[in-house]
Structure formats: C-alpha cells, structure tokens
C-alpha cells in the first residue's frame, strides 16, 4: 500500500488532558479520507500535529513513506502539506492576494511584486475553478469565498496533501456543493485530502475512507462504500443516534410574532430587509431557509432590538415591540440563541453560572435593589446545568473552558428556561457533533410542544426540513414562499432560495 501520510501511534497531551491517545491515521495517495469524531475528540489536535503547530509526545509521522519531524508549519509546507483550519486563518484587513502570498511573497527590488502575485493567484484560481477576486479585502467577501482563499493559500504553496478541518460548518448548501466539486477536482489533479466534518452525509457523498476517533482514541477506519450513517454515528458516539427528529404534528394556536411590512437597512444603507411580512403561531416551529446574506441577520437583530427598523411593525402577543430596546423586547417574552456563540452568546471570561444568568441577573431572587445574590444565582445555574446536561467541572468554571457543544447548551438553558413565548434560534447547531445536535433539536421540539413559538434560522437544509413545521424562504429581504416541509424536496427549496418562483417549483415537480 502507498500511503502519502502515515501517523502512527500519535500521543498529544495538554495540561490535564490527553487529546490524542495512540491514534493511527493512514491516508492513501489520491483519496479523500474522512476524520470523524465528537466535539473535543481530538481531530483538530491530530491535524495540528500533522501540520507542525503542535509537537506530539509520542508516535511517528511518515510522509510518502519517509519518516519526518514536522517541527513547524514551514516544514509541513515543504513536505507539501497544507491545511484549511476550522477557524479561518485569514487577515480581514488584507486583500485576497496578500493573504495568499503572506510568508512567500514574490519580490522585485525588495518590495512586494503585487502584479506578479495577483497574476499567480488568478492563474491558480483559474486552474482549480476557485473563483476569487484577488484585490478584494477579506472583510468584504462572503464566507464561501473566504474558504476558497484558504484553499488557494495551500495550493499557492504547492500543497499535495490538503487537510480540511470542518470546512462546511460555515457554508451554505450551495457553497457546500461547490466545495465538494472542488475537492473532487483536486483529487483528479492528483492531490490527497483529509476531511474533518460532523456531517455524515458529506462523508458518504465524497469520501473514500473514514477514520473514527472517540475521546482521543482511534476507534477504527472503515471503507465508506461499505458503511452507512447509523454505523458511523454509532462508532463515533458509542451508542445509537436517531437522525429523524421525533415529533408529533404541530398544533398551532394564536399568532405570537407578527411582522408587518418591515424595512431594515444594513450598515451599507441597503434595504437588507425589504417589506417583509411574517407570522408565527404558538406551538409551531417556523424555519427560515435562505442563502446567507438575504437579510436573516438584520431580520433577527431588528426583532431583538439591536437594530432599528426603518418602517413596519413587529408585535409579540399583540404588544408592539418595534424599535424597543433589547431588554424591553426580552421582557416582552423573547428568547434568543444568537448565531455566533462566542461573539454574541457568551462572556467567555465569566463563569458558566454567570453566563446562565446573563438575562435574568437583575431580577428577583437573584438581585434586589441592585444588589446581587451570588448564592442564589449559582444555585439556579447548578439546577440548569443539571437539567440541560451542560458538561462542566462546576458552575464557577469559566465559559471559555467548555467545548462548543456545552457552551451552546448553556446558552440554550439560559434562553429556554425563561419560558419565552417566542424563541429565536439562529444556527443553533453550527459546528456541533451529532450527539449535541440531537439534544438541541429535541429541546426545540419540546418548547414547541409547550406551546411556544419557535423561529429557526439555519443554513442547513436538513435541519430546517427536519425540525420545522413550516418553512419560510427568505430572498433579498422578503419572504418569497412559505412551504410545508413534508411536501417540498430539497431541490425545490434550493430553487426558491435562489430566487425561483414557487409556482415554478411546483411545476417542475
């Protein structure tokens, strides 16, 4: 067998934890090799070892059959290993070209030869079909294009072996499809790929082999052609996972959220939400499907009170909340799981307990006349930690120290426990493993069954289709269609999201 990469018996420790315990990973030339495992299983760590960011305590690495010491990313680059990181390694204020050439700049008389650089970038992007604008700044381009820049970075350095760490977690369905195409193209060009993803469907779609790890230990490698979703999930979690969201038929009651002719302008003064109308009833989950950038963020922020709307009216349970402050809106019965948990959801340097009380600290019994009662707060936090199965050493542990899934659970505990009549969940499962996803979906359905209205926003069509009772498709700031998930296919949804008309979608059926 010709392995391009052999990682044998790798051990990597962090203070107090063994992230990789005797893991072996063997990747063949020209294959897409999946790496699967729960949050915190040690996948990123293993790949960072391969890329030279971490040094393993034990084990050996062979590249193309030769034993190597990868002491830093430069060595990895020289060996033809490139990595697209889970959290993008891009510099927002730099242009695409600058990001790509960084550390490897073509020069002319001592200064950067930007013209040559841009030409080189255009050439490579042409070759692999990775559309980018070489002069655009990273902060101005879409996440999908950012990802292509990441890939270009590795190719620019002549990488033959590419590591993708959860590349699809932040992409829209369209972008995911494009990425899959690109990966296939890369394989055809003779490259080899290691792909980390939590989405089993993706593994089944493009991968050849799949290595599963659990809690830092290697569980085994399977041939993707000979396996299925359930088997993979079981290997990864160590138990059976149900993928279908179990729920009964919704029994919607009175409308909770009513949005009429809403107009919101974004930072660039464009009407991001343009005359939008929407209604959600108690006891139903309404999913909003749409390609990123069609007004979802502005819609949520204007409901929540973080952004002023230009015109239109928003009511919760008949109460006008248009342009009220976030605090007033929350008190009118809104719960909100924000899409970026680190930026908007948590104060990472606060304890888990303090984070759980982030919306209610000012109320009795946690405080009175402006004085806080910490014992009461922590008592409550402990209760919720138990109830929502937040895995944390204690309620006083800093939120920073929790895994993404558990951070998300803490947020959900906070938002759901206040029994809001309206719960907005934005990308609630992004980057989480299937176990955590299962838990969160269950919670959303439970809330629905308690008679709450749930607004779900997600770029994952599967999630939208599985969880929602109704799906509203948003396009250019308007709701262009409302469909029933049961009799709408993924293709139809995709078409609607791309601006196609509902009738057409129906016709094509």
């Amino acid at each position: 067998m010709d392995y391009v990469i052999e990682m044998n018996n790798i051990r990597k420790e962090f203070p107090g934890i063994v992230a990789n315990d005797n893991i072996t990973l063997q990747v063949k030339q020209g294959e897409i090799h999946a790496l699967l495992g729960e949050n915190g299983a040690g996948k990123s760590t293993l790949m960072n070892v391969l890329f030279g960011l971490y040094q393993p305590e034990k084990g050996e690495i062979k590249v193309r059959g030769e034993k190597v010491e990868i002491t830093d990313p430069n060595v990895a680059n020289d060996l033809g290993i490139g990595m697209v990181h889970q959290h993008f390694m891009l510099i927002d204020k730099f242009t695409v070209t600058e990001n790509i050439i960084l550390g490897n700049e073509p020069t002319k008389f001592g200064n950067i030869d930007l013209r040559k650089a841009e030409k080189d970038v255009a050439e490579i992007s042409e070759m692999y079909g990775l559309q980018v604008d070489p002069r655009a700044k990273i902060e101005d381009i879409s996440v999908g294009m950012q990802q292509r820049v990441e890939i270009l970075k590795t190719l620019y350095r002549g990488a033959e072996i590419l590591i993708f760490d959860e590349p699809t977690a932040v992409l829209t369905p369209q972008e995911i499809n494009e990425l899959m195409e690109i990966m296939k193209k890369l394989i055809n060009e003779g490259k080899s790929i290691i792909l980390i993803t939590h989405k089993l469907k993706e593994i089944l779609a493009v991968c050849d082999q799949c290595t599963v790890i659990r809690r830092g230990k290697g569980i085994g490698t399977v041939n993707v052609k000979e396996t299925n979703q359930n088997e993979l999930a079981a290997m990864m979690v160590g138990r059976e996972i149900s993928f279908a969201v179990e729920k009964t038929v919704a029994k919607p009651k009175d409308p909770v959220l009513k949005i009429e002719n809403l107009v919101v302008r974004d930072a660039r003064d464009v009407k991001a939400v343009n005359d939008l109308n929407l209604e959600i009833r108690a006891g139903e989950i309404l999913g909003i499907a749409g390609v990123d950038g069609n007004g979802q963020t502005e819609l949520i922020e204007s409901i929540v009170g973080l952004q002023k709307s230009e015109s239109g009216k928003i009511t919760i349970d008949g109460k006008d909340i248009t342009n009220l402050s976030p605090r007033k809106v929350t008190e009118s019965g809104l719960g909100h799981i924000p899409q970026d948990r680190h930026k908007h959801g948590l104060v990472l340097d606060f304890s888990v307990g303090e984070n759980i009380l982030l919306q209610t600290y000012y109320r009795q019994p946690y405080s009175k006349n402006g004085v806080l009662f910490y014992p009461k707060m922590y008592e409550k936090a402990k209760e919720l930690i138990e109830e929502y199965d937040v895995r944390t050493p204690s309620e006083r542990t800093l939120a920073r120290a929790l895994s993404g899934g558990n951070q998300q659970k803490a947020i959900i505990a906070r938002e759901v426990d206040r029994s809001p009549n309206l719960l907005i969940a934005a990308q609630p499962t992004r980057g989480l493993d299937v176990g955590a996803i299962e838990f969160i979906h269950k919670k959303l359905v439970e809330e629905r069954d308690k008679g709450r209205a749930v607004l779900l926003i997600s770029f994952e069509l599967d999630e939208i289709r599985n969880v929602s009772d109704r799906i509203a498709v948003i396009y250019e700031g308007k709701i262009v269609a409302i469909v029933d998930p049961k009799d709408t296919t993924e293709q139809e949804l995709g078409l609607l999201m791309a601006g196609g008309k509902q009738e057409k979608a129906g016709e094509s059926n």
Binding site: V304, L306, H336, L346, Y374
Partner: protein, 352 residues
C-alpha cells in the same frame, strides 16, 4: 485541593516578584558601591521605623489607593483610564474651592467638599466616556489630552481667582478639613488624616459595586464582551460612560484627599502630581482587586516615604526605589515566568 494550590500560587507570585525586585535592587546597590543591607535597613526603618514615618506612609497610601481604584475600576470594564491624573487634579481643586468658599457646619461641609471632588473628577471622566460611547473615540488619547487640560485649567483658576500667598490658595476652612489631631498625635505629628479610612471604605465600595451589584455585573460583562452584553439587553454605551464617571469620581476623591487632608489647599502645579500615573502601577500590581490595590498602595507609599530615609541613612540615591518598583511590576507582570519556575520546582519534587 487544586483550588488551594491555585490560591497559594496566586499569593506567591507577588511575593516572589517583590523578592526579585528587591534582590535586583540589592545587586544594583552592590554594583554602585553601596551596602544593600544598610540600604534596606534604612528603607524599612523609614517606613515602619517610628510612628511618624508610619503615619506618613499611611498618608501617602491614601491618594494612591484612590487613583489605583480609579484605574482598576475602568480596567475591569475594559477601559484604560490614563486620565486619573487630570481627574485627580480637578477633584482636588473642586474640593478646595468648596472647602474655602462655603461656611457650613462640618457634617455638611466636609461631605460636600468630598462630593465636589467626586463630581469634578466624574465630569472629567464623563468626557472620555461619552466620546467613546458616542463617537468611538479612543479613550486613551482623550484621557491623555484631558490631563493637560486639567493641569492648565486648574492653574488658571488658582492664579486668577484664588491665589493667596506664593503659589497656593487659602487654607480650607476647618469644617471641611480631614486632618485629625488625634491621628497626628498618635503618629507623632504626621499628616495622616481621616482620608485613610475613607480609602479603606473605597476599597470595600469598589469590591461591592463590581462584585455584588447588578451594575457591577453589567460593567464587567461589557468590559469582557460588549457584543454579548448588548445581546443580553444591557446598554453597553451607558455602561461605558458610567464606568468612566465612577472611575473619575474615585480619582476626584483621591484629589480631595490631598486638598482636604494632606495640604488643606491647592497650589499652582508646575507639573503633574504623578499620583494618577502611579495609580496605573498600583492597580496593575494589585491585580485590579481591592485587597491587591490596598497592599500595592502600601508597598508604593512605603517605598516612596522610605526612600528619603534610605538617602539619609545609607546614602543611597532615592531613585533606586523607583528602579525597584519598576522591577517588581515587571516581575508581577511576568507571572508566567514565576509560574514556570514554580511548576519546575513542583515537578522536581514530585519526581523525587
């Protein structure tokens, strides 16, 4: 078990840093031909040698505690207040003005004068706060600029409206004075005054506001993550302004301590008092905690008072003390180094 060890390490770090600082100071003394033992003996003698110097040390601590708290409070809420110096000066001026101009019974006059200091300092903190909240102007520049404005404006007011003799204003009326014959008697005529106890109270108040009130919780949250705070319904802009106002008010009271306690007047300042800048060091050395600030102020105040005796008793230039202070701050800041050493020692012990 682990918790106990963590606390022990936390306590050990400043102590080790202080030791390193003094050790380095000893080496410098040796290198410059002085006797470090005599030098430090004189230093210690100059801090706790008798009631007078001890009283002076406590007197020196008083404004340092306030300026330390002012810096720490802003720091806790994510703001860097370099303007404590200016806030302290206007607070000093305002308290003295009230102390001179009004004729009131002490129970009203003294609190009013202190309040005047707090308000003036608060206003001086409000400006950078509102500019940051409304226009995103970097608070560091504004506070630096306002220091100079405070200095010139205060000198202008003194020179044109309040000049009594030489370079200073009149004395404040006794009803606004913090001086205490009792404390002075206790400490052999030192200038220690009631303000010291106000400073202790301020430590408690800062701790209480930050850790025991909903406002403090909001302020800290906004300091760590303004985005998440506004998502959680807190008004981040108001909190920025409030934090700067409170910080400035603490600084202003620190100035009132000088005006109502130590001096009883304000003079034309030919340069900054440095009390505000020292506050940055006090706050950071004290880890922005109340107890830490108190202890750091003691160390600073003591070293400053003791420095003179070092020169008198052992002929060591007083600047040595500044070097030692700087090195202590370095070592505290480099706690990573100390942790590394401690870990090394620990694992060696375990290895055996």
């Amino acid at each position: 078990m682990k918790l106990i060890k963590d606390t022990a390490v936390k306590l050990a770090i400043p102590l080790i840093a202080i030791f390193f600082g003094f050790f380095a100071g000893a080496i410098i003394m040796l290198a410059s031909g002085n006797n470090p033992i005599a030098g430090y003996a004189a230093l210690i003698d100059g801090v706790i040698g008798d009631a007078y110097v001890f009283g002076e040390t406590l007197r020196m601590m008083t404004p340092l505690i306030f300026s330390g708290i002012a810096v720490a409070f802003a720091f806790r809420t994510g703001l860097l207040n370099i303007g404590v110096e200016g806030q302290l000066i206007v607070g000093w001026l305002a308290s003295v003005v009230v102390g001179i101009v009004f004729d009131l019974p002490m129970v009203i006059h003294l609190p009013l004068a202190i309040l005047a200091g707090a308000i003036a300092g608060g206003i001086w903190g409000f400006l950078p706060g509102i500019l940051k909240a409304r226009f995103q102007v970097h608070e560091v520049i504004v506070t630096i600029m306002l220091n100079y404005v405070a200095l010139h404006v205060s000198n202008h007011v003194i020179r044109n409206y309040m000049l009594a003799s030489g370079q200073r204003t009149d004395f404040i009326s006794p009803t606004a004075s913090l001086t205490s014959d009792f404390l002075a008697g206790l400490t052999d005529f030192s200038r220690m005054h009631w303000g010291f106890f106000l400073a202790i109270a301020a430590c408690v108040i800062m701790w209480f506001i930050l850790w025991k009130t909903t406002k403090g919780y909001e302020l800290r949250a906004a300091g760590f993550n303004p985005n998440a705070s506004s998502y959680a319904g807190m008004n981040v802009k108001t909190n920025i302004v409030l934090s700067m106002v409170i910080s400035g008010a603490f600084a202003g009271i620190g100035g009132a301590m000088e005006g109502l306690g130590t001096y009883g007047f304000i003079q034309i300042l030919s340069s900054f008092t440095n009390l505000g800048f020292d506050g940055i060091a006090v706050a950071l050395l004290g880890g922005s905690t109340s107890i830490g600030i108190f202890l750091a102020a003691f160390l600073f105040g003591g070293l400053k008072i003791g420095a003179a005796n070092m020169q008198a008793g052992a002929n060591v230039a007083p600047e040595l003390v500044e070097i030692v202070i700087a090195l202590i701050i370095f070592f505290v800041a480099s706690s990573y180094l100390i942790r590394l050493i401690l870990n090394r020692l620990q694992s060696k012990k375990e290895g055996k």
